[in-house]
């Protein structure tokens, strides 16, 4: 695919595809970055939320008198005070309505649910007062449900009394061909796979600052989607949208957790309006662990039909999501749909019947986290392939080879309607195998003399839907985005877009795209994001959409701008428009360097020397472009199928791990990533996404796990001491290689790359450890794979072997 954006632009340097240095670095490197917690407004008060310590209870009474009397406390509000505020909308028809109020009123459904808010002169005083409100709260505790089984038990206590059960949704496909395959297959087995509860854990917690001045409510929020926050906050508070401005300053990571619109996003602005004072709320880490969304927490009950030769004939999979209390907007239902849509990865495997179930429990609401359901599905599929390989004595690489999509097989429509437009499915896997084999031999040699160590290899092939529809997730919105591009009188370029940036390097990539689209240098481009007053309406950044949206919208706007600029230049040079070309930022007649006009001269004519414009031309040099991906669908078709992604990246991971049998200690000897996200705008930024994604994937594969007490649904974590985020001592160096299969329907061939890194590690780690311990029959079905889990698996395998032997003797 050619990257010639415009045949009238003659570049001597091309910026797309180059590792341009990041323009976002100077602030944080020198301590001059500005995050939400750094905002200080004269007269600003501090807000602290009071949160439920019960997992399920009625609130009988809240005595705020002691807190209100504390010196330095300005106000204490409870849910009753917010009677004029609307509930969060329940837009999706097929999931149970939760009618979430910004502050819980008569009932709390998880530890951490906000039910009161304290406003004081400083954080310390506000926390003292919050403790007094907590002490003055009388609960009537209710029986709790801490997991799927408890929630679905016939006599289970219900979180929402008006529901028939704790089941929020249950969607099954009609697949008679799958039933036939089960009838015909040689064998079948059943298994349960589990992806444990985790979270994105940005190092900057959430935060909101709100201020009312000159009739405008300004909200600074650590959000990934400021326009959506504005629409929602304005509607819930009953304020006209133009009177609300939402912006995010620098954001210290999001990873999906900051795509949601939280109670604090509404309550903090409400407090600012009520008191007519600027107010600030900064989430602390304990709050972050219980009150920012969790994720994953899926169970997969599978039945697998297979033949003696190792062919997998069909799979039935009930994918069950533990949604926590479900009290979050946008609702946390979507990841499990993505799990099922993507579960067959890059394999040619139509015989999948995937049932999708969501269940509410007395835990923190679950929602978005990088990967967004993809890792859970890949884990199930890869574990199934390894199991069938083992049961039939088939080589694990060969099993995958047989099923992977081959060159020329795309576009390929998956079992659920996902349309794989392109990809290097076989090529990526073959390259990963090629890279992992010497690594495996090296590791085997390294431990040849240590009888306590076993070495194994694990694989994961996956697809990564990018720039998805938000309609499926939210019941509103769509999947396109806009950019406005302007050339000022001095020739400088300003790009404003509705996507957001929180560390990925989006501004750097946007400048590279605009530079090539307008034939200028990136340094001439100013990028404006994350401010509803200064950018066109957009959906923000999530689902690996930012670069793809920018590449579409900036290009479209730039092309409109170029058309006008060439007409102006033609007029100024008294030449035919069709003869005008742009070489290194200068317009001239093709084939002759002089005379010429610069972007600055064209910009000056457009804005300030209108006499230089053609008679009938409107002044100005600004254009907008709205990009909506060609094949992106927002609603299910008649057969319940949907292609909900603008394009599909793909990848193959492989890892060599060693296991110390006596202790269960696991070490990653080598980790290989072969990745394909189409046209790469900036390879250094893409590598950064992969490095960070794999680290988070390994965190889920080996360390991070939110555990709850099964009797009380109380969290068994309160700090980083219980929720084990990996340090540099845990994350190994990676070998990363790329393929480029451009998105055929995207103007630049761009696909997203944010999720992929997280997808492979759970399958790779469980696969490699199971391989290493295959002589004992260990076959892991859940993560995290900790030393304790390894030892338990070895004991269970030994017990099973002993039972078999005993049975055989009898």
């Amino acid at each position: 695919m050619s990257l010639d954006i415009d045949s009238h632009i003659r570049h001597s340097t091309r910026h797309i595809g180059m590792p341009a240095p990041r323009r976002e670095d100077r602030g944080p490197l020198t301590g001059r970055g500005r995050y939400v917690a750094d905002i200080k407004i004269a007269g600003m008060l501090e807000v602290v939320f009071v949160r439920s310590v019960e997992a399920h209870a009625r609130i009988i009474s809240i005595d705020t008198s002691q807190a209100s009397a504390l010196e330095g406390v300005t106000a204490v509000f409870t849910g009753a005070d917010l009677a004029d505020v609307g509930a969060f909308p329940d837009y999706i028809e097929y999931i149970g309505p939760v009618e979430q109020r910004p502050l819980a009123e008569d009932k709390v459904r998880y530890v951490g649910a906000p039910y009161a808010v304290v406003v004081a002169v400083d954080r310390y005083t506000a926390e003292d007062a919050a403790a007094l409100v907590a002490a003055g709260t009388v609960y009537e505790p209710l029986p709790t449900v801490a997991d799927l089984d408890q929630a679905l038990a016939p006599a289970a206590p219900r979180l929402y009394e008006h529901w028939e059960s704790n089941c929020s949704f249950d969607v099954s496909p009609h697949k008679p061909e799958v039933d036939r395959a089960f009838d015909e297959a040689d064998h079948a087995f059943t298994e349960t796979y589990v992806s444990q509860r985790q979270t994105g854990l940005p190092l900057e917690t959430r935060g909101v600052v709100a201020d009312v001045a000159d009739g405008t409510l300004t909200v600074w929020s650590s959000t990934q989607s400021p326009h959506m926050v504005r629409t929602t906050v304005a509607s819930m508070l009953g304020v006209a949208e133009p009177q609300v401005r939402v912006l995010h300053p620098a954001i210290g990571g999001g990873f999906g957790t900051k795509t949601h619109i939280y109670p604090e996003d509404v309550v903090v602005p409400w407090v600012a309006r009520r008191l007519d004072r600027p107010v600030r709320w900064i989430e602390d880490r304990l709050e972050n662990l219980v009150a920012s969304v969790h994720a994953r927490d899926q169970r997969h009950d599978v039945e697998v039909a297979y033949d003696d030769d190792g062919t997998i004939r069909a799979v039935r999979c009930a994918s069950m999501l533990d949604m926590g209390s479900g009290e979050i907007f946008m609702p946390g239902s979507a990841p499990v749909f993505v799990t099922n849509a993507c579960i067959t990865g890059g394999y040619d495997f139509p015989n999948m019947a995937a049932r999708t179930v969501g269940v509410v429990t007395n835990k923190t609401p679950s929602g978005a986290y990088r990967g967004f359901g993809i890792p859970e599905g890949a884990f199930v599929m890869e574990r199934i392939i390894d199991r069938v390989s083992r049961l039939t004595g088939t080589d694990r690489v060969e099993s995958r080879r047989r099923m992977l999509l081959r060159p020329g097989q795309t576009p390929y429509v998956m079992h659920g309607g996902g349309r794989l437009d392109s990809g290097s499915h076989t090529e990526s896997f073959e390259r990963a195998v090629e890279m992992v084999e010497p690594a495996l031999r090296l590791a085997e040699a390294r431990y040849a003399d240590d009888p306590d160590v076993r070495v194994g290899v694990g694989y994961c092939n996956y697809v990564e839907p990018t720039a998805p529809s938000y309609h499926l997730t939210t019941g509103h919105w769509g999947g396109g985005d806009a950019a406005t591009v302007r050339v000022d009188p001095d020739g400088s370029v300003r790009v404003a877009a509705g996507v957001s940036a929180f560390g990925q390097g989006v501004e750097t990539a946007a400048a590279q795209i605009a530079a090539d689209a307008l034939g200028v240098e990136p340094r001439d481009v100013t990028v404006v994001l994350g401010d509803t007053e200064r950018t066109p309406y957009g959906l923000g950044s999530w689902g690996s959409r930012a670069t793809m949206m920018l590449a579409g919208s900036v290009l479209l706007a730039s092309q409109r701008l170029m058309d006008k600029a060439r007409r102006i230049a033609a007029h100024m040079l008294e030449a035919a428009e069709s003869d005008i070309v742009l070489t290194d930022g200068v317009f001239h007649v093709d084939g002759s360097g002089r005379p010429s006009v610069s972007w600055a001269e064209v910009g000056t004519a457009a804005w300030v020397r209108n006499v230089d414009l053609p008679d009938t031309m409107e002044a100005g040099l600004e254009a907008s472009g709205y990009y909506h991906p060609e094949n992106l669908q927002h609603q299910l078709d008649d057969e319940g199928r949907i292609n909900a992604a603008a394009s599909w990246s793909n990848g193959a991971h492989a890892g060599v791990l060693s296991v110390r049998v006596s202790t269960g200690e696991i070490k990653i000897e080598d980790y290989i990533v072969v990745h394909d996200c189409g046209t790469v705008i900036n390879p250094a930024l893409v590598e950064g996404q992969i490095h960070g994604g794999v680290a988070q994937g390994l965190a889920g594969a080996m360390y991070e796990h939110f555990q709850y007490d099964s009797d009380t649904a109380n969290p068994r974590f309160a700090s980083f001491m219980e929720y084990l985020a990996p340090t540099c001592a845990e994350v190994p160096p990676l070998s990363v290689e790329h393929f480029e299969s451009p998105a055929p329907e995207q103007p630049l061939g761009v696909k997203g790359c944010g999720e992929g890194g997280t997808v492979g590690p759970p399958a790779v780690v469980a696969g490699a450890v199971s391989d290493a311990l295959s002589e004992w029959g260990v076959d892991l079905t859940e993560c995290p794979v900790t030393p304790v889990a390894v030892r338990a698996a070895l004991r269970a395998a030994a017990a099973a072997a002993a039972a078999r032997e005993k049975g055989g003797v009898a």
């Binding site: 490197l29 020198t30 995050y35 190092l203 210290g252 560390g503 390097g505 930024l685 950064g688 960070g692």
Partner: protein
């Protein structure tokens, strides 16, 4: 009116980045809050407030300290350095380590960066010979974006470790 003991106050007299400060501060005020809110230097970030993530690391008399685990009252008389003091004063240039972070794409969201830089600033580079020693030094600082690879590569480059000890997996 409820009164509570923690509102007692203490004189705090410190030097921060070469400038002397004198405040009457609440006795329970954390050093991190003192630096950020009282002195007004917000480059020091607070990531967990329980001493684990290392984002708030500053130098107190040359030692790396988690400023969320100290009280402002404890540092009276001390010299404090923060990330704002690393780049050469009065110029646009960066320190060699800051430059290496930039050149190696060693930061993404940047929230943890100050803590890494101050941890690195607290040690004598000549005592480090291998990237593995750097990993050990930095294993008290959490980064959620980069997967650490490029951070170790930046330090390897800034401290010339590959030249000292041959090749490396990093960089």
């Amino acid at each position: 009116m409820t009164t509570s003991e923690p509102t007692s106050e203490t004189d705090v007299e410190v030097t921060v980045n070469g400038r002397r400060h004198r405040h009457r501060a609440p006795s329970r005020l954390l050093l991190s809050d003192y630096i950020r809110d009282t002195v007004g230097l917000t480059g020091t970030h607070v990531g967990c407030e329980h001493g684990y993530c290392g984002a708030c690391t500053v130098l107190v008399d040359g030692d790396a300290v988690r400023s969320c685990l100290m009280l402002a009252a404890q540092v009276s008389g001390a010299e404090i350095r923060t990330v704002e003091d690393l780049a050469p004063a009065g110029s646009d240039s960066l320190s060699p380590m800051q430059q290496a972070f930039h050149d190696n794409y060693a930061l993404q969201c940047g929230f943890c960066t100050a803590g890494f830089l101050m941890t690195l600033e607290s040690v004598d580079p000549s005592r480090y010979e291998t990237p593995e020693q750097v990993v050990e030094l930095l294993s008290g600082n959490l980064c959620r974006c980069t997967g650490y690879h490029n951070i170790v590569a930046a330090v390897t480059e800034a401290w010339n470790l590959s030249r000292r000890r041959g090749g490396s997996d990093y960089g």
